[in-house]
């Protein structure tokens, strides 16, 4: 099966050997975009979060064929011209990254949250990111990072 889609603004094609391949598998193994991670393959942990036609999805739960003709944006597509996106900058600065396996998913989910709600309350942040598991940080510094990112984006930083 041949899949054609736009990934991070570029037209990409991939041949899937097996029709059961997930979008996550194709992004990683066939397109070399290793940013989205597999940590649960059940949509529980959010480590594989990407945008599919502008909607935040767990790419482990999306069949690659469902992405045919779609526009996909991954964590690799957030930084521009080598400059970190303010969300990425905030995660680095706040110490919100330890092992970092959850980080790409959290960065994409935070990007999505701040697009919808530029000044989220603590409770809103917690609700929005409840689908992203982190085992290292206890989430405290992630909340700091989200607030800092909101400030950076709000001030046009």
């Amino acid at each position: 099966m041949r899949l054609t889609c736009t990934v991070n603004g570029e037209r990409r094609e991939a041949d899937c050997a097996w029709e059961g391949e997930s979008l996550l598998y194709v992004l990683r193994e066939r397109m070399g975009l290793w940013g989205a991670k597999n940590a649960c393959e059940q949509g529980e942990c959010g480590s594989c979060s990407v945008y599919l036609d502008g909607t935040l999805v767990c790419s482990c739960l999306v069949l690659a064929s469902q992405a045919d003709g779609a526009e996909v944006r991954t964590v690799e597509g957030l930084a521009e011209d080598g400059e970190l996106h303010p969300v990425q900058e905030a995660f680095v600065a706040a110490g919100a990254v330890q092992c970092g396996f959850c980080t790409p998913g959290l960065v994409v989910a935070t990007h999505d949250l701040l697009e919808r709600s530029p000044r989220p309350s603590d409770a809103e942040i917690r609700e929005a990111l409840a689908g992203n598991l982190c085992r290292c940080t206890g989430y405290e510094k992630i909340i700091d990072a989200v607030k800092d990112a909101a400030t950076r984006l709000g001030s046009g930083d």
């Binding site: 097996w18 597999n38 649960c40 991954t74 964590v75 092992c99 085992r135 940080t137 989430y139 405290e140």
Partner: protein
């Protein structure tokens, strides 16, 4: 006292040095998705490995037929025990675990055969075509049954992996004098490390042997075991630490290392094995579930006169680190308190349950849950405030543990509790204001708007040893090289210390900067091309590898100063390194480091050993078996829906002594993350095992705390210098996970008046008992 204060400083302070809130050097790659984890590697012609695992907890293998699996198109090879080139068994302490089972399987999920194929799905399907004829045997699934005289031995030496007996004073005499005696039986469930990045790696055949890129905690012990199983000399096995997605003890034992390497050597092609979450639950050891029976006696003032305990740790099918976990559980069993008389017995047993071994807190977690519940019970029996009772019994510097070991470092138990109690409590909810349901038990499930919700507050304090104890030769190695790059000096730090997320690489760079006065520091990937760093475990790497980096930097500095003296004729004792230059006491530039190394880089390798060796415990459990101790106290505030048994933790406050915070940002991260794992054990995390079968190997069924489950953490960091350690630092990683669990359960007891003797606490424990 500290070795660092005995000599005058030879380096001026630098930015981003020791004590600074330095950002991780790998964070940029991690936020952009470019960081290579062990699951993100590939190679031309790569094959995918899959593992055939036992569906039975205990069975005899009559035969293994791989014919059908070999016939699946795309399959390169199928291997069994007969193909293991070297030792058939491996293990961290005891080589009792088969690479691939041959006659008997001893736990659900034990590896039996391997497949390599050109697609992961093909490999999985072929694995399902391997026909293993099993004769199921009755499993032993309870530690008590395993200890019974009539129990069939699961291993040649019987079913006891380890028994630690600590005897001190006269318990019978003390019991006769005690004014108050409290007894309790407690239970701790099997917790999983649940690191986010499942086991994975890439094995590449080389001219001599194999190169393995893998997520692990100890490269050299992997190398030792891997070489033995492959029948290769150690130098033919090169291991590189690939990006590690968390560890928490779960990567101390081998998982796919031998399997991927066997497949690579057999096929002559690179082989990648990447576990999914389900396989990950079978692929690593868990925290020992425990049953703990305790008896505490005190005088009328609440001073402990004796403690007795009998603890059973279920080690599961293979030894792993059960022996060491048993020693720590026993060594900490009476808590951070002065107890003149003890009889403490801790057993680790073999059963047919999943193997258990290292997890953050390592035996201290189980004991702390029980002894802190006992302290609350004792306080209630005496009519004393629970914090006051702890304060009266608190160990302090100079005090002795039940093992006879004198505490010569900081032991600020009373101070931690006093500071914790002085911290403000979160405001009580306003009864006239509707609460945001996201702050209530049940949260967005909308199960309550505040009715039936009661608040409770609980305290606990715990401690654990730092470093490898029991007489292990604990050391680390560092190689430091200073060279010139574009006119600037650059330091390369090379160690085999595995960065598992804790921030060891940040700290190594900070120490090198501080010691050499050079800002540009590169931490090289960890591999077996440099000497062992020991395991990233036991809260030891900052101390041990930090010590090795410091020591190698000191040797490099001496050489740089020697060259400066030789070339520029100054008096050595007055020179120091600052901003990439050798300067005199009054700041006069003598030479730049770049000039000193331009054609001849300076390189030094040093091993570091702490100034004190530990020793094994004797037959009465006496001996200086631990290097030092880390202490932390926790206070939990909870809201409990007493009708539904649902819990919302409102806040955790903590005070921890860290000796010296080399990187406060990392220290806070360890404290907050460790508390989250303690909360998980208190409220939700348990590998459910019935008759030896694992029932919940997924993140749908094994729940870890989400951002909605975790409350804000209020932390206070104490820095009381640890005299034996470089910079006065102490281990930080484990203490947050120890007393956080009992603090939460103590708060639940305060809110519900229920005994709550097991963790994780289930809604039924809160509601069922109340209804009764």
């Amino acid at each position: 006292m500290s070795p660092t204060t005995t000599a005058p400083p030879r380096t001026a302070p630098v930015e981003r040095g020791v004590g600074a809130r330095v950002r991780r050097p790998d964070a940029r790659l991690k936020v952009t998705g470019e960081f290579d984890y062990s699951s993100d590697l590939s190679a031309d012609g790569v094959l995918w490995g899959a593992t055939v695992r036992s569906p039975h907890p205990h069975a005899r293998i009559r035969s293994i037929d791989t014919t059908r699996a070999r016939a699946v198109p795309g399959v390169s090879t199928v291997l069994t025990h007969a193909d293991v080139p070297g030792a058939k068994c491996y293990g961290l302490k005891v080589a009792d675990q088969p690479v691939l089972a041959w006659d008997v399987v001893r736990y659900h999920g034990e590896p039996v055969a391997l497949v390599a194929a050109d697609h992961p799905e093909t490999a999985r399907r072929a694995a399902a075509e391997v026909i293993v004829d099993y004769e199921p045997l009755p499993p032993i699934v309870d530690s008590e049954d395993a200890l019974a005289d009539a129990a069939p031995p699961l291993h040649p030496d019987g079913n006891v992996v380890k028994h630690v007996h600590i005897e001190r004073g006269d318990v019978a005499g003390a019991a006769a004098r005690a004014e108050v005696i409290v007894r309790g039986e407690y239970e701790v469930g099997m917790q999983d490390q649940a690191f986010l990045g499942p086991e994975s790696g890439l094995a590449i055949p080389t001219d001599f042997g194999v190169e393995l890129h893998v997520a692990t905690q100890w490269l050299h012990d992997d190398q030792r075991q891997l070489a033995a199983c492959l029948g290769l000399p150690e130098h033919a096995v090169r291991i590189v630490c690939a990006g590690v997605g968390g560890a928490f003890g779960g990567r101390e034992d081998l998982s796919m290392q031998v399997h991927a390497s066997m497949l690579a050597l057999h096929t002559g092609r690179p082989v990648k094995i990447v576990y999914g979450r389900e396989e990950s639950f079978f692929g690593h050891v868990h925290r020992h579930p425990a049953r703990l029976a305790y008896e505490h006696g005190a005088d009328a003032d609440g001073r402990l006169v004796y403690v007795k305990c009998r603890t059973l740790l279920d080690g599961g099918a293979y030894a792993s680190k059960s022996g060491a976990v048993c020693m720590v559980a026993a060594g900490t069993a009476a808590g951070p308190y002065v107890v003149p008389n003890v009889t403490l017995d801790v057993y680790a047993t073999y059963t047919n349950n999943p193997p258990c071994g290292a997890m953050r807190g390592f035996g201290a977690v189980q004991s702390c849950f029980a002894y802190e519940a006992q302290m609350d019970k004792l306080a209630a029996a005496l009519g004393l405030d629970p914090v006051e009772l702890r304060r009266r019994n608190a160990l302090e510097t100079g005090g002795e543990l039940p093992t006879g070991q004198r505490l010569d470092g900081p032991a600020p138990v009373a101070e931690l509790l006093e500071r914790l109690q002085a911290m403000p409590l979160p405001p009580e909810p306003d009864p006239d204001r509707a609460r945001d349901i996201r702050e209530l038990p049940g949260g967005v499930s909308n199960t309550t708007h505040g009715e039936g919700v009661r608040r409770g507050v609980g305290y606990a304090v715990g401690f654990k040893n730092v470093g490898m104890g029991g007489g292990v030769d604990d050391y680390s190695t560092a190689r430091i090289r200073v060279c010139e790059q574009n006119g600037e000096p650059e330091v390369a730090v090379h160690t085999a210390a595995c960065e598992v997320g804790q921030g060891g690489i940040t700290i190594q760079a900070q120490i090198a900067r501080a010691e050499l006065g050079i800002d540009r520091v590169v931490v090289l990937p960890a591999d077996t091309d440099v000497g062992s760093a020991g395991c990233t475990a036991g809260s030891r790497q900052t101390w041990l590898t930090g010590g090795a980096v410091k020591s190698a930097c000191e040797a490099v500095r001496a050489e740089l100063l020697r060259r400066a003296v030789e070339r520029h004729g100054a008096h050595d004792s007055t020179l120091l390194l600052r901003d990439g230059a050798v300067v005199s006491e009054n700041g006069e530039l003598l030479a730049t480091v770049a000039d000193l190394v331009v054609d001849d880089p300076v390189e030094e390798t040093r091993e570091y050993r702490p100034p004190r060796r530990t020793e094994p415990l004797d037959e009465n459990g006496q001996g200086n078996s631990f290097l030092s101790f880390g202490f932390a106290a926790h206070r939990a505030v909870v809201d409990v829906d007493v009708e539904l048994g649902l819990v919302r933790v409102v806040e955790i406050a903590t005070v921890q002594d860290v000796g010296r915070a080399i990187n406060p940002l990392s220290v806070e991260g360890q404290i907050e993350g460790g508390i989250a794992q303690g909360l998980g054990l208190a409220l939700m995390e348990q590998v459910q095992v019935r008759d030896g079968i694992v029932l919940n190997p997924s993140f749908t069924d094994y729940l870890i705390p989400t951002i909605l489950d975790m409350p804000p953490v209020r932390s206070q960091i104490l820095e009381l210098p640890q005299p034996l350690a470089p910079y006065g630092l102490n281990g930080v990683g484990e203490p947050p996970t120890i007393a956080s669990t009992p603090a939460i359960v103590s708060a639940l007891r305060a809110a519900t008046d229920q005994p709550l003797t097991r963790v994780p606490v289930r809604p039924d424990d809160i509601v069922g008992a109340m209804a009764g």
